[in-house]
């Protein structure tokens, strides 16, 4: 008996692989197959790692390695440690300072690009200039700050040369202020692009309509432009918050390791092979980050970006 053959409809091409059209009529199978490669990738690189960290946080460890003895001791240790809470609070403060600084710098810059710069070519060039430093490694961008902001660095030399200061400013390097300053400029690339692109999507007619209805420029900005750029702000804020929470290198290279954040806490546990307690702190850090993202979603549904 001959098998029925799937003939293409009139005007359509035949499916290149036999049976594929039949498969396409099973949407759940198709969905599964389409998301399988990406899911496997995520599962291996993210899922297994995350599950491992959570499991290890309930184990004990020391010089002889990890023991699967399921205990709450690691969590008791960190939750009863005053330094842990102080460091967690400081980490949140740094996130706040960095986010505020990045928004205050990026928003006006994006607005300038959108409203003031008329030439599309110039817009592209200027936007590219904010992204180009991102093409170098994070470590290189951080380390280049040292010869600029050190006691004998370019900035201090210039300020002393002009006569603004008599002694070099120590605060420009190896201080918490220097660390936050460096983080503004490291993370600004994540904010300026999303804000600019959300501004670009605003219909000029909407702004014109606001003016026609008697709204002054400031009122138009607050009630029309700002709400419409919320998606870009929130997208950028998401990046900045998550990256700052995990920050450890700038804290050491620019901050002088004198104001450590939670990620540095984890590293110091790993240094002495205490993987279990390091995992417990990692779990707490992940939960804190998820809570922060959750709070942000109360202001804006990030799924709409």
């Amino acid at each position: 008996m001959n098998k029925a053959v799937d003939l293409p409809a009139v005007g359509q091409r035949a499916w290149p692989i036999p049976g594929l059209q039949r498969l396409a009529r099973k949407p759940r199978v198709t969905t599964f197959l389409l998301i399988l490669p990406g899911t496997l990738w995520q599962a291996v690189l993210v899922g297994v790692s995350l599950v491992s960290v959570v499991l290890f946080s309930f184990w004990s460890s020391g010089f002889a390695g990890l023991q699967a003895d399921y205990t709450l001791d690691n969590y008791k240790e960190i939750f009863t440690d005053r330094t842990f809470w102080d460091t967690a609070l400081w980490t949140l403060e740094v996130v706040g300072f960095v986010l505020a600084g990045v928004v205050l710098i990026a928003y006006p810059a994006a607005y300038f690009l959108w409203r003031v710069v008329k030439s599309n070519t110039l817009k592209t060039v200027l936007l590219l200039l904010t992204i180009v430093p991102f093409w170098t490694s994070y470590l290189t961008r951080t380390i280049t700050w040292i010869p600029m902001f050190g006691r004998n660095g370019a900035i201090n030399e210039a300020l002393q040369g002009i006569g603004i200061i008599n002694q070099p400013l120590d605060v420009l390097l190896y201080s918490s202020e220097a660390m936050i300053f460096a983080l503004w400029f490291l993370f600004i690339v994540f904010m300026i692009g999303p804000i600019f692109f959300s501004m670009s999507r605003i219909d000029e007619d909407v702004i014109a309509a606001a003016a026609v209805h008697g709204a002054r420029p400031w009122r138009t900005f607050v009630h029309v432009i700002l709400p419409l750029t919320k998606p870009g702000l929130m997208a950028g804020a998401l990046f900045v918050v998550v990256l700052t929470m995990a920050e450890f290198f700038t804290e050491r290279a620019i901050g002088g390791a004198q104001n450590p954040m939670l990620a540095g806490f984890i590293l110091r546990q790993v240094d002495i092979l205490n993987f279990a307690e390091g995992s417990a702190i990692s779990v707490v850090l992940i939960l804190m980050t998820l809570v922060l993202v959750g709070v942000m979603m109360r202001f804006f549904d990030l799924r709409k970006i």
Binding site: V44, G47, G62
Partner: protein, 456 residues
């Protein structure tokens, strides 16, 4: 019928699948990892004939006795089909060393350079099977030894050892031997009493102190106390290490009657508290300009004058000098802090011959001569054979005279420049040891209090 795949559906389904596969994957890995694997120890080759009479020679011998001996310029040993896969720090795992090893022996090499923590972590989490040897600090070696990952190496297999080993690694009467902790013998030997098998074959060693800018300090430094001296407030830097930094501070406080500490290398909780509280007060007073993390940062900090005094590794000072900046290594009256690095062989490596050839290569003399200009000592006196004719550091003094005998100054010399090693001869340095950097009984407490210090 078509199903709309919107972002919400996609996120929900893929997160569910991700979690499920993640759990299954972890379960699978655990089951596989819990398997009762039988791994046999590597089969040791027979003890090489003529080993007892071997002598080092800079000039390649016509009929080489061993693969790792010097080979005539331009020649390359025939390929053996064996591979040495080694992991270690950048100071010991270097392309120039491994290329010479390949040339002499015909073995292939696969190096990996990483940090101490990363290499131990990798070995303990199942990564050991990728390597033939590990080049580690002795205080971390116990972690691998206690996990039964390493092969005891019969002393006869290390040809240069019998006649050329330094007594620091064989004798309790040697300069620098710590009677209290029994270092370094207890880390070198499976049984220090009979010394028949190595736990860790010493590869290079040194003792640390303070790097300083004599031009900015206005003189010479002779105490660890300079790092906590208010005169250098805001100009002092210390290493971000929960074990090493409290160690030297304990030595300083004990020697100056500031604390009652029995063993500065392995402190009790009370003793750690005394040291940390002292350092915390200094930190709050603004004593430290930076708490440095890595080698390059230390070099930059000293060279740029961000700090004028810092606890430092010897090569840091040498690298600062290479930039034309006056920099010296101090001889502290409280003593130096000692350490050694060694090579250990993985228990069931199939490339045991390559591993033993590498151990012998590192002690043959050439390797030791290469690391000498970084300030490191070789545990075998074979390096003298190579260093005696060399004048890489000074026209007047041979490299041996400079790096081992102190050049013009077997005792540390005041002022700048110094025509020899800053801290004097080998005997001067090793006769002045504060402690060896051992792994303490409770490193967790050190780390906990160190976090308190950093967050203060």
């Amino acid at each position: 019928m078509t199903v709309e795949i919107d972002r919400r559906y996609f996120l929900k389904r893929s997160l569910q699948m991700c979690g499920a596969v993640g759990l299954a994957g972890f379960g699978g890995v655990t089951l596989v990892g819990c398997g009762d694997e039988e791994t046999g120890a590597a089969q040791l080759p027979p003890v090489p004939a003529g080993a007892a009479d071997w002598e080092p020679s800079v000039t390649p011998r016509k009929d080489r006795q061993f693969r790792w001996e010097p080979l005539a310029e331009g020649k390359h040993a025939r390929a053996t089909g064996l591979t040495l896969s080694t992991i270690g720090l950048g100071v010991s795992v270097q392309d120039r060393f491994l290329k010479e090893f390949e040339r002499r022996t015909g073995h292939k090499t696969t190096p990996k350079v990483t940090t101490l923590t990363a290499m131990i972590t990798e070995w303990l989490s199942g990564g050991a099977s990728k390597y033939t040897t590990v080049e580690t600090n002795a205080n971390r070696n116990s972690a691998l030894w206690d996990h039964d990952l390493l092969l005891p190496i019969p002393v006869e297999q290390v040809v240069p050892w019998k006649r050329y080993a330094r007594d620091l690694f064989t004798s309790k009467g040697a300069l620098g031997y710590d009677r209290h902790n029994q270092w370094p013998l207890v880390q070198v030997w499976v049984d220090p009493a009979d010394q028949k098998e190595f736990r860790l074959v010493p590869q290079f060693f040194n003792c640390d102190s303070i790097g300083y800018r004599p031009d900015l300090v206005g003189g010479d430094v002779d105490s660890w106390g300079v790092l906590v001296d208010p005169e250098f407030k805001g100009k002092s830097a210390i290493l971000n290490d929960s074990l090493l930094t409290p160690g030297w501070c304990a030595g300083y406080m004990k020697a100056n009657g500031l604390a009652d500490i029995k063993d500065t290398a392995n402190m009790t909780h009370d003793e750690v508290d005394q040291v940390i509280d002292f350092l915390t007060k200094k930190k709050k007073d603004g004593q430290f300009r930076v708490i440095w993390e890595d080698y390059g940062q230390c070099v930059n900090v000293l060279a740029a004058g961000e700090a004028v005094v810092t606890d430092a590794w010897n090569p840091v000072v040498e690298d600062v000098k290479k930039q034309g900046v006056p920099c010296k290594y101090a001889t502290p009256k409280e003593g130096f802090t000692a350490w050694f690095h060694g090579i250990a062989i993985r228990k069931d490596t199939p490339d045991i011959e390559a591993a033993l050839d590498y151990v012998n290569f590192c002690l043959e003399g050439w390797w030791g001569a290469q690391v000498a200009t970084q300030g490191y000592y070789s545990p075998a006196t074979t390096a003298k054979t190579y260093l005696d004719p060399m004048h890489r550091t000074s026209k007047k003094f041979t490299d041996w005279q400079w790096w081992y005998e102190g050049g013009a100054n077997p005792r540390p010399k005041q002022g700048w420049p110094v025509n020899g090693r800053d801290t004097g001869s080998f005997d001067t340095r090793w006769g002045n040891i504060m402690h060896w950097m051992v792994w303490p009984d409770d490193p967790d407490y050190y780390a906990k209090r160190w976090n308190d210090f950093l967050a203060a």
